[in-house]
Amino acid sequence: MPGLGTSFGRGGATVWLPDLANADCILIEGSNFAEAHPVGFRFVMEAKERGATIIHVDPRFTRTSAVADIYAPIRSGSDIVFLGAIINYLLTNENYFKEYVAAYTNAPFIVSADFKDTEDLGGMFSGYDADGLVYDFGTWTWERDEKGHIKTDPTMQHERCVLNLLRRHYGRYTAEMVEAVCGTPRELFTQIAQTLAKNSGRDRTTAFAYAVGWTQHTNGVQFIRTAAILQLLLGNIGRPGGGIMALRGHADIQGATDIATLYDSLPGYLAMPSVNRDEQTLAAYLKSQTKKTGWWANTPKYVVSILKAFYGDAATKENDYCFEYLPQLIGDHSQLVTTIAMKDGVVKGYFCIGQNPGASGQNAEMTRAALESLEWFVNIDSYDNETVSFWRREGADPSKIATEVFFLPAATVLEKEGTMTQTSRMLQAHDKAVEPAGESKSDAWYFNWFAKRLKELYAGSTDPKDRPILDMTWSYEHDDPHERERGEPSTLKVLQEINGYYTATGEQVVSFADLKDDGSTASGGWIYTGVCPDKHTNHARSRDASGPYTALNWGWAWPANRRTLYNRASADPAGNPWSERKKYVWWDAEAKKWTGVDVPDFPATKAPDTPANPDGLGMDFHSGADPFIMMLDGVGQIFVPGGALKDAPIPAHYEPQQSVVENALYKQQSSPVFGRYERDDNPYNKPIDENYPHVLTTYRITEMSGIMTRYVPWLAELQPSAFCEIDPELAVSKGIKSGDWVTLSTAVGEMEARALVSGRMRPLRLGKGKRVHQIGVPYNYGSMVALARGDSVGQLIPISLDPNVSIHESKTLTCNIRPGRRAAYHEDAIDEPVPARERSSFGQPLGRWASAGSGAGQRQEGEKK
């Protein structure tokens, strides 16, 4: 999310799925698009049918590779080298889109003379504090003139302009380096670089698609940043068939970040107040968060409106709109960090809803053990799962576990109404198809009930600390008598509140441009304003596919129903389409407004020749040719200044925390600032560890998602058991045949799985003749319940986190492998189902509980009966 946000302004895919069909080339990297998003993949197939070149870069030859025109193998975790080398290729061969880069990016900006690059400091940027393992961002800034204006060189000749900084920074990222570090044959790499260059420019566009293959690394945000730089250089952002498609795995992942299940964010990408930024009062918070220039100058309107939505009439100008009711961050409260805090007894209670961290969590056994330390644990799920059943897992003694467990039945998606925001930022409403089974309730029902119950319990209290609960607005009574009787809240009313309303009249607000910072408007998430412009309209229900291919009356995409973000960039600085073929949004000089097939992502009547006011505030600071309206300076960020990202202003390649090779580019082995949580119950393999000589990578497969699918016999028969994919060479050397049991190990623990030996896994030849085997393990399984089952790969993964978003490094690890099962237990329930009462719970305690790191080798094959 910040990878895209800091580059372009918003943490969402810049494009929408059907637009991929308009691409001339699609680079899929960090994603197994066809398998993980088969329905969206139809548009890739359509692009291919129209003649586009499909490129897939992946550690494994997958179902995506099978239909791609070009497949390139890559060592997991080395993508910045691959992408950085393409950047180098474009700059060296002057193959980038010069007019676009000069006008729409910060390439001409001049960087402060105090800034030192990784080339100068052995892989570090200036400002590193080795004690705190953090950067001071003072030097990551621009050179300014005496008036404080950023110095630029429109000719991009200045040695410290961003473009030349980029040339130097990626100078050693060559095709040879790609071959040595990524294992991708250099000819293949060059072919891909040429193909991208050939399919970008005025007349052609290339789209990128990625998913968690790029995010789940200790420097995952920087993977996405590299792609963002590349797409800016190629001039593909904001244009049809271009952009970056951030593929979200689950149906509503985009919605979950928009309306803020993230601990550090309020709905609409407003920051949660933090004591570390001295944001204890509204004035201090707004001073800290409001940007002087660009669209975020409007921050106060959105903040006051959200407080009015939360606290209604109680929120007044005099009491700072109840700002002090909001919790203040005191540190990293992300999920895995909180899990560690549970284990340590700091956190006493836990609501776990809609996920199964006991199977899919990183260091899954630690997660399960952490639950033992809780006083109470609430799990709301549709199925029995490895998390809620932690107390009966093998190795656990229920009589010694004091955690009080509440297991509440959840309605599935078909059993409830609501709105989801899919990967194209599109809101789509859905109805309830059937009544929930038994006592199951929707998640909304539970929160509605909790809120009302809490209000009841605190009613009449005069204690000031209870005011947030008492003042919280809460009126979501369902209009349907049947649903009201069942206690289901109206999700439509929730959406209407998110959309926003005038506090005096209760009328809906039509556009976020109408939101005010004086308490006259309320909005629970400003980016969704416009989806319910009046009480009788819900655009999330729109299902009219007529009109141009953008089908603007089908669903509703935030912001303001714009389908392609930053689409001002689809026209040249003068406002004309870059080419007839790639016409999308342009300036209509007669009507004096922006027009096209999409909603312009730009002030509707701001002419392209509007000059920038260098001393102006808000949008006045931007000219009529600055397409990235959310940014301070209105342009795409090749260099991200000022510490908006904590690890680098320009991406540099670091090896994952666990690797099989030394960093060939810098002395610095892995990210100097990644979130390190090494301890006895979360041990790390050494950076290069002879006990763990193979690369391990994880992913999901089409047939399975998780606990939802593992119970479905039709899906379970398709992929019934945890497996790992290994190459024939490794299989032969270890005496493993396809279908055999094997055991994988890391310092964290062990797992067993069926071997799937396939030529699709290919050993890589890296620099200095090093031969590397990569082992792939699907993430979908858990061992305790359901029809499809097997050890969870989460048992192998230590908690190590990206410094920006605390995402875990699950995509690249090191491991060892040996034939045989890891421990004898009840003959497997996968081959022949056994009645529940006869099933054993599973496995032996992991090796590390006996002695950390020595699990491998202690348990021999042959224990299997």
Binding site: F61, E717, P720, S758
Partner: protein, 281 residues
């Protein structure tokens, strides 16, 4: 009007949505949970209760580079032959050609003799074993039971009969396309008027050939062996055997004249021999 499938394997992404949609609509049980270790194929073949099956064929070169590596995927199904071996062999008249010219097994007429199983040139038809409605493996049995009371055509009861693709007869009757074609996200499975599909398929081969892809149709025209054209035909990029399709399917009844003639000749020979032996006495 004859309806059928055009399965274009160049568009298949192996997602198996067809297998799942088929089982869901037709309320078929799973065939068990066996990990085969054979690519991503764990259902292995068509059966009495698996009416769509996606084959995965890995063609990986041994040398480095792998520029010509292929992973072929193809969704197999009953071919709904012009001359159907199963239909000819059925002694009870359970197998009929319906108004969509699909080959359809009427479960309430089928007596489970299994003659159709050996008579299918493609090995498609199979007997559905008797199953225990209470078993874990068949936990859909209650659904099946409920459906059985109201509609006997779309389900296979409690087994003991022959089963195969119905071309979603029940869906077609109400104007819906078959579940597999509906679920296919990439139009690898196309449903419609067979004549239209054949034209489309021939054009598709031309398009692919122009792109340098070697493609051929299987079953759009007479496949030989007396089977005739297939109402469910395929576009392949390798030889049929690669996809486990017979290169030369044979309708068993085409061997009858030869078989009967041999028997007649043998009988005649024996008669003559017998006459000679006994005549001489």
């Amino acid at each position: 009007m004859a309806t059928g499938f055009f399965t274009d394997t160049t568009l298949c992404i192996g997602c198996k949505a067809c297998e799942v949609a088929c089982k869901q609509w037709n309320e078929l049980p799973s065939d068990g949970f066996k990990f085969t270790g054979d690519s991503y194929d764990n259902t292995s073949e068509l059966s009495g209760t698996t009416w769509r099956h996606v084959a995965f064929i890995e063609q990986m070169s041994v040398d480095d580079g792998g520029l010509h590596d292929r992973w072929l995927m193809s969704s197999d199904v009953c071919k709904h032959c012009t001359n159907a071996g199963c239909m000819e062999a059925c002694p009870t008249g359970a197998i009929i050609r319906n108004e969509f010219e699909s080959v359809f097994i009427q479960p309430d007429v089928c007596n489970g003799c299994g003659y159709c199983v050996t008579s299918c040139p493609f090995g498609v038809v199979d007997l559905i074993e008797k199953f225990d409605p209470g078993g874990v493996r068949y936990n859909l049995a209650s659904l099946v039971e409920a459906r059985r009371e109201e509609d006997k055509t779309a389900l296979q009861g409690h087994g003991g009969v022959a089963g195969k693709c119905t071309l979603c007869y029940d869906r077609q009757k109400i104007g819906f396309e078959p579940a597999c074609a509906k679920a296919c996200p990439t139009q690898s499975i196309q449903f419609g008027d067979v004549d239209v599909l054949r034209d489309r398929a021939r054009k598709r081969v031309e398009t692919l050939t122009a792109r340098g892809v070697s493609a051929e149709l299987y079953g759009a025209d007479d496949v030989g062996g007396g089977v005739g054209p297939l109402n469910a035909f395929f576009l392949l990029t390798d030889r049929p055997e690669t996809y486990n399709l017979p290169a030369q399917p044979v309708l068993p009844s085409t061997r009858q004249p030869a078989g009967y003639s041999s028997a007649a000749i043998a009988a005649l020979g024996l008669a003559i021999a017998g006459w000679m032996i006994f005549h001489n006495e």
